[in-house]
């Protein structure tokens, strides 16, 4: 199980802006250690965000994304107090899911 994410969601004028900071090494699989051995690929492949059971974001990440990815998106709707759930899956099958409350 991966490390916790930091999620902030705020609604303004009917649009909820969600900011997600993920903790992940995002290894490309192309980098070599000092001993010449390849560092195995290890990166988030899919990110999903759900608001009250409705999927509001589906993203496919890859090796071009930096370590500790930061993702910001907006969606129509959402009200203060409602929950937003963000989940990711990485190429090793590891998963992480965190919940945040929408603020006004």
């Amino acid at each position: 199980m991966g490390n916790p994410m930091k999620i902030r969601a705020a609604v303004k004028d009917g649009v909820t802006e969600v900011k997600i900071l993920m903790q992940h090494n995002m290894e490309t699989g192309l980098r070599k250690e000092a001993d010449g051995k390849l560092v195995p690929a290890w990166y988030i492949t899919d990110v999903t965000a759900q608001h009250q059971g409705r999927t509001v974001l589906e993203a496919q990440l890859g090796i071009s994304i930096s370590k500790n990815p930061y993702l910001v998106f907006g969606f129509k709707g959402g009200a203060a107090g409602e929950k937003i759930t963000v989940s990711w899956v990485d190429n090793t099958g590891d998963k992480r899911s965190d919940v945040a409350e929408i603020t006004a």
């Binding site: 930091k6 997600i20 900071l21 500790n68």
Partner: protein
Amino acid sequence: MNTSNVKKIILVLALATSYAAVAGEVSDSDKIAQYREMISDGNPADFDEMRGEELWKTASGPKNATLQQCDLGKGAGVVKGAYAELPRYFKDTQKVQDLESRLLTCMTTLQGIPEEEITARPFSSDTKQSDISSLATYVVGQSKNVKMNVLVKNPKEKEAYEIGKRMFSYRAGPYDFACSTCHATSHVRIRMQDLPNFFDKKDAQSAYTSWPAYRVSQGLTRSFQWRLNDCYRQQRFPEPKFASEATIALTMFLAVSANGADYAGPGLKR
């Protein structure tokens, strides 16, 4: 060519210049500032702060103690605002100490961890995070928006300040370099990086208060001791000893030059 034609050409030229000035290239440092603003809400240093807080509150070491009784200068266990007054003179050790040397004292005395064990990993690496570095990130985060107020009152504090000031301009090494070679002139840069002039109050304040910081290019949060260590590496000096008197003296000089500004770290660097 008649006069009206000449006038037209001048008008066109004038328009062209003003257009260029308006559309003018956004300078590299402005672009970096834009980028910083974009990601300022998502500073991964937060994770290091969380890690540090956990370490602070978790009992460990041979004495199985937490660091919650650690005196950072504002009394045992007071973390809030402590960093904004460091380095300072400590009676118990009879030394001027910066944050990391003070953490070292607390970890050895309260937790009983041997000093060599801590200084063996003073900085984080790709594969392993440094505990003392994470602890430092946590402590500095508790001084966010606190006004820098580093005093130079005690004779030892005065001595450290004077040594630090001299070290800043001390030229040596194979490149005959000093800190002041790069940091005593305004509006100069190395590649994309604007270099702060430490003799300029504003520059010194914004530079000092933005460290420790998360380095995007390294994917790690870096402490102030690391910053000095890397400055000396770039100057081709011998590697300074972690939390040594010399690094504390230099930190003293730099911290005092930032007095009056609100501490803004942990920062975010390219």
